[in-house]
Amino acid sequence: MGCPAEIIWYKDVGSLRMCDAVVIPGGFSYGDYLRAGAIAARTPVMDVVRDMAEDGVPILGICNGFQVLTESLLLEGALMINEYPKFICKWCTLRVEENESPFTSKFDVGELIRIPIAHKEGRYYHTKEGLERLNASNLIALRYVDENGEPNASANPNGSVENIAGILNESKNVMGLMPHPERACNSLLGSEDGRRMIEGIIEFIKK
């Protein structure tokens, strides 16, 4: 995509500091022991990520990366075992709820996009007060919706509160989402919508 990217070993803190943006990918850190993302969130490398987040560096957490960001308190809320407690892997329709972040700038508000999910612990949860705060500050980035764009129970794959699929931090430079944008980067694979998220980050850091 015209932008150099490197895979950084979690102990290679020096190289991490040189980066203009950070993506914490999906997977299973520390075997998902304790709670998904809980142990990774307390490793020294996350102190560096926290510093970078404070400096305004875009940080994107995908799936397990989202879990790591909530456990690190860089994002609010928690991700819990799916309502139907099993692994789900399927395409989802998402509605873009805001477009003022590097990750969402390439979308229109209200636009429906297709990105797949693959997780067992993806049920977003937050307290009533927390949800009010997220809604009031426009920090909910993506919701699971049906083909008509309605965030109803049948479109909610995992029981997430308010059909939330992705959220932002207050300064909108940290985003976490359960769907996998990297798996929606080529029309041959079913969708290019995820690619636009990455394009948004690149455009932001080139400015």
Partner: protein, 83 residues
């Protein structure tokens, strides 16, 4: 002194517990009249502390910093001197 903490991590009231709900249904299918099952996690932590007060402070901190997630969990523990 060595202390053994028996830590229980439970979901806060009002937080949905799909595992507990699934087990409730399974028990009912077996013919048991069950009102509710709640799931919880247990950790046994063996550690050193000078006295009871220090042991309590340490286990509190472990619960707060790692073992529980304050948004969804309540924690409780008992402490036992292991000599």
């Amino acid at each position: 002194m060595r202390y053994l903490a028996d830590v229980t991590i439970k979901l806060k009231k009002g937080v949905r517990d799909p595992e507990g709900m699934t087990i409730t249904r399974a028990l009912r299918n077996l013919g048991f009249s069950v009102e509710e099952v709640s799931s919880a996690k247990k950790y046994y932590v063996l550690f050193e502390a000078e006295d009871d007060e220090e042991a309590e402070n340490k286990i509190e901190e472990m619960c707060r910093k790692l073992l529980s997630n304050p948004i969804i969990h309540d924690y409780s523990y008992t402490l036992e001197v292991k000599g």
